[in-house]
C-alpha cells in the first residue's frame, strides 16, 4: 500500500512537470494573445504607439465599412464554391480508387501530388497557368476553338479561377475519403446484394450513409480552413481586380500591417472568430439530421 501511494505521488509530480511546456505554450501563444486581442479590439492603436480605449467603436465602424462587407462576401463566395467542389471531386475519385483498381498506389500518388506543392510555388505556377495571353488554360481553349477568359484578371472570373486552383489540391480530402471507404463493413454490401440490390442501391443505402461522418469531418475542416485563405490574395491578386478577391484575412493583414490599424484589425479578427464559431455550430447542429453514427447516443 505505501508503495502504491509512492508510485501515485511520483506520477502526479512528473505528470504535472511534463505537462508544463504544453500548458505554458497554451497560455503564452493561445490564451494570452486571445485575451489581448479582445482587449486590443476595444482600442485605437498604431503599432509602436500606446493603445487608447475607444469602447466598441471599432465594431460599430465595421458596419459602415464597405470593404469589410466586400471581404466577407468574397470569402463566403470562395468557401461556398471551393469546399463543395473539393468534396465532390475527392469523393468521386476516392470511389473510383475503391473499385479494386490495379496500381492503386500509383493512381493515389498522382492525385495526391498537387497537395505537395508548397503554397507559394503553387501560386506562382497558377499565375502562369491563368496568363491570358500564353497561359495553359487559354492556350488550350484557343486550340479547341473555344472562347478564352481573363481568369484572375477579371472581376467576374477571379474567384471562380481561384476555386479551380484550390480544387486541384483535393488529394488530402481524397485520401481521408479512401480510408473511410475501405472501412465500410463488407457484410453490409453483401446484405444489399442478397436482397437483389445493384450498385446504385449499394451506393445509396450503404456507402453514402456510412460515409456521412467522414464527409462531415472533411466539410468542417474544409470550411474552417478555406475561410482563412490568405496566400492567393497576397501574392496573386492583391485583393483585386476591383477588390473582388479581397479575402477576409488578407484585408485584416492589410489593416494591421500596412495601415497599422491594430485595434481595428483585432476587431476584424474577433468578428472572424465569431463567424467561424457560428458556422461551425450550425454545421454541428445540422449534422444530427444527416450524419450517421454507428452507436446511436454515443454522440
Amino acid at each position: 500500500m505505501p508503495a502504491l501511494s509512492g508510485q501515485r505521488r511520483m506520477e502526479r509530480r512528473w505528470g504535472l512537470l511534463m505537462a508544463v511546456p504544453a500548458i505554458l505554450g497554451f497560455v503564452i501563444f493561445t490564451a494570452g494573445p486571445m485575451v489581448a486581442s479582445a482587449l486590443f479590439s476595444l482600442t485605437d492603436w498604431q503599432i509602436g504607439g500606446t493603445p487608447s480605449y475607444v469602447g466598441f467603436d471599432n465594431y460599430t465602424a465595421l458596419v459602415d465599412d464597405e470593404l469589410f462587407w466586400k471581404s466577407l462576401s468574397a470569402t463566403t463566395y470562395y468557401t461556398l464554391g471551393a469546399v463543395p467542389l473539393a468534396l465532390i471531386v475527392a469523393f468521386a475519385v476516392a470511389m473510383l480508387l475503391n473499385q479494386r483498381v490495379r496500381g492503386l498506389s500509383i493512381w493515389r500518388t498522382i492525385f495526391y501530388l498537387p497537395t505537395l506543392v508548397p503554397a507559394i510555388a503553387n501560386v506562382v505556377l497558377w499565375i502562369w497557368i491563368f496568363n491570358p495571353d500564353f497561359g495553359l488554360l487559354n492556350s488550350l481553349l484557343r486550340q479547341g476553338g473555344l472562347p478564352t477568359a481573363q481568369w484572375i484578371y477579371d472581376e467576374a472570373t477571379a474567384i471562380p479561377s481561384l476555386i479551380i486552383m484550390s480544387t486541384w489540391g483535393f488529394g488530402n480530402t481524397m485520401v481521408i475519403f479512401l480510408a473511410g471507404l475501405q472501412g465500410v463493413p463488407r457484410h453490409l454490401y453483401e446484405a444489399v446484394s442478397i436482397d437483389g440490390g445493384g450498385p446504385w442501391r449499394r451506393f445509396w443505402h450503404v456507402t453514402l450513409p456510412m460515409m456521412t461522418p467522414t464527409i462531415f469531418y472533411n466539410l468542417v475542416v474544409g470550411v474552417v480552413g478555406t475561410f482563412q485563405v490568405f496566400n492567393q490574395a497576397y501574392v496573386m491578386t492583391e485583393g483585386g481586380p476591383n477588390q473582388s478577391t479581397l479575402f477576409y484575412v488578407y484585408y485584416l493583414f492589410r489593416k494591421a500591417f500596412h495601415e497599422s490599424e491594430m485595434g481595428y484589425a483585432s476587431a476584424l479578427a474577433w468578428v472572424l472568430f465569431m463567424v467561424i464559431m457560428v458556422v461551425t455550430f450550425l454545421m454541428f447542429r445540422n449534422a444530427r439530421r444527416w450524419v450517421y453514427y454507428e452507436m446511436a447516443g454515443a454522440r
Partner: protein
C-alpha cells in the same frame, strides 16, 4: 424481406458468372480506367506545364499553338534563376527553421502526450480538453498580439518567433500533434510501464526507453507534417523576416516573383526547384504520408 427475395434468387447473378455477364464487367472496368485517366490528365497537366516552361526559351513559350517539347532544352533557366537571388541561402535558412521546429515539436509534444496518456494526475483530462480547444481558434485572432509580443521582446527579424513556439508543445495549432501522439501512446500496453516502474524506473525513463522507441510511426508522421508545415509557411516569415539574407524559400520565391514578373522561364525554374525537395521527400516516405493523413482523418 426473405420471402420477397427468395423467388428472385435464381434470377440474380449468384449463378456462376457466364460469358454474358463477363462482358459488362469488362466494359465497366474499361469505363473505370477511362474515368481515372480523365481525372489524372488535368491533375498532371499543371506539372507538365511547369516542367516544360522551366526548360523553355521565352521565344518558344510565346507561340500561338502552345509547344510542349522545349527545343532546345534551356537548362540555363535553372542556373540563372537560382543565382539571380540566393536561393541556396534561402534553402539553408528554411532547413534550419524546419529542423529546429521539428525537434521542438516532436520532443515537447511527445512529453506532453506522455503526461496526458500514461501518468495519472488530478485535472489531467480537463487540462487536456482546454489545451485542445485551442485548435479551434483562427490564427488571425492570435496574430496581432503575438506580433506585438515579439516586437516588445526585440525578436523581430530573427528566426525566434518562427521556432520558439514549437518548443512549447507546438503552441496553438501544434496541440493537434499532442492529440495524435496521445492517441498512439494509448495503444501501447500499460503493462510495459508497470514492469519498468517495478524495476525502479522513473517516469522519464519509461517515456524515453519504453514509450518513445515503440512510437516511431507516430513520431515520423508528426515529423513529416511539421516539416512540411514549416517548409510551406508563408505568413510567418512574411511577418517576421525583413532582412533578405534571412528569407525562407517561400518568402524568397514570392520576392523573386515580384521582380521577375514576366520571366516565366525563370519563375517556373525557381518554382520547380522549390517543389522538388518536397516531392522527393514524399517518394521516400510515401507510406507514412498516407498513414498520417488517414490517422488525422480517422480521429474524427
Amino acid at each position: 424481406m426473405t420471402a420477397v427475395a427468395a423467388p428472385e434468387k435464381p434470377r440474380t447473378g449468384r449463378v456462376a458468372p457466364t460469358a454474358g455477364l463477363r462482358r459488362p464487367r469488362r466494359f465497366g472496368k474499361a469505363l473505370l480506367y477511362l474515368a481515372l485517366v480523365a481525372g489524372a490528365v488535368p491533375t498532371l497537366l499543371p506539372f507538365v506545364w511547369l516542367v516544360r516552361s522551366a526548360l523553355m526559351q521565352d521565344a518558344q513559350m510565346f507561340t500561338a499553338p502552345p509547344e510542349w517539347i522545349p527545343a532546345p532544352f534551356q537548362w540555363s533557366n535553372f542556373t540563372e534563376a537560382l543565382t539571380a537571388q540566393p536561393f541556396w541561402l534561402y534553402f539553408v535558412n528554411t532547413v534550419v527553421i524546419a529542423v529546429i521546429s521539428v525537434l521542438g515539436t516532436v520532443l515537447t509534444c511527445s512529453i506532453a502526450a506522455f503526461s496526458f496518456s500514461r501518468l495519472r494526475w488530478r485535472g489531467r483530462n480537463v487540462v487536456f480538453a482546454v489545451l485542445l480547444s485551442g485548435v479551434m481558434l483562427p490564427y488571425a485572432v492570435t496574430l496581432i498580439p503575438t506580433f506585438a509580443m515579439w516586437q516588445q521582446l526585440g525578436a523581430l527579424d530573427s528566426i525566434i518567433p518562427l521556432t520558439v513556439p514549437s518548443w512549447f508543445a507546438g503552441a496553438g495549432g501544434g496541440v493537434f500533434n499532442v492529440f495524435l501522439l496521445r492517441q498512439f501512446f494509448l495503444t501501447i500496453p500499460f503493462e510495459l510501464d508497470e514492469a519498468a516502474y517495478i524495476d525502479g524506473a522513473s517516469p522519464w525513463r519509461v517515456f524515453w526507453t519504453v514509450v518513445m522507441p515503440l512510437s516511431r510511426p507516430a513520431i515520423v508522421v508528426v515529423t513529416i507534417f511539421t516539416f512540411i508545415g514549416t517548409w510551406n509557411d508563408f505568413l510567418g516569415p512574411l511577418l517576421y523576416l525583413t532582412d533578405e539574407d534571412k528569407y525562407t524559400l517561400s518568402l524568397g520565391l514570392a520576392s523573386f516573383q515580384s521582380v521577375f514578373i514576366t520571366q516565366w522561364g525563370y519563375l517556373m525554374a525557381a518554382s520547380a526547384a522549390v517543389i522538388a525537395p518536397i516531392i522527393a521527400l514524399f517518394f521516400f516516405l510515401q507510406r507514412y504520408f498516407i498513414e498520417g493523413i488517414t490517422l488525422t482523418g480517422i480521429k474524427n
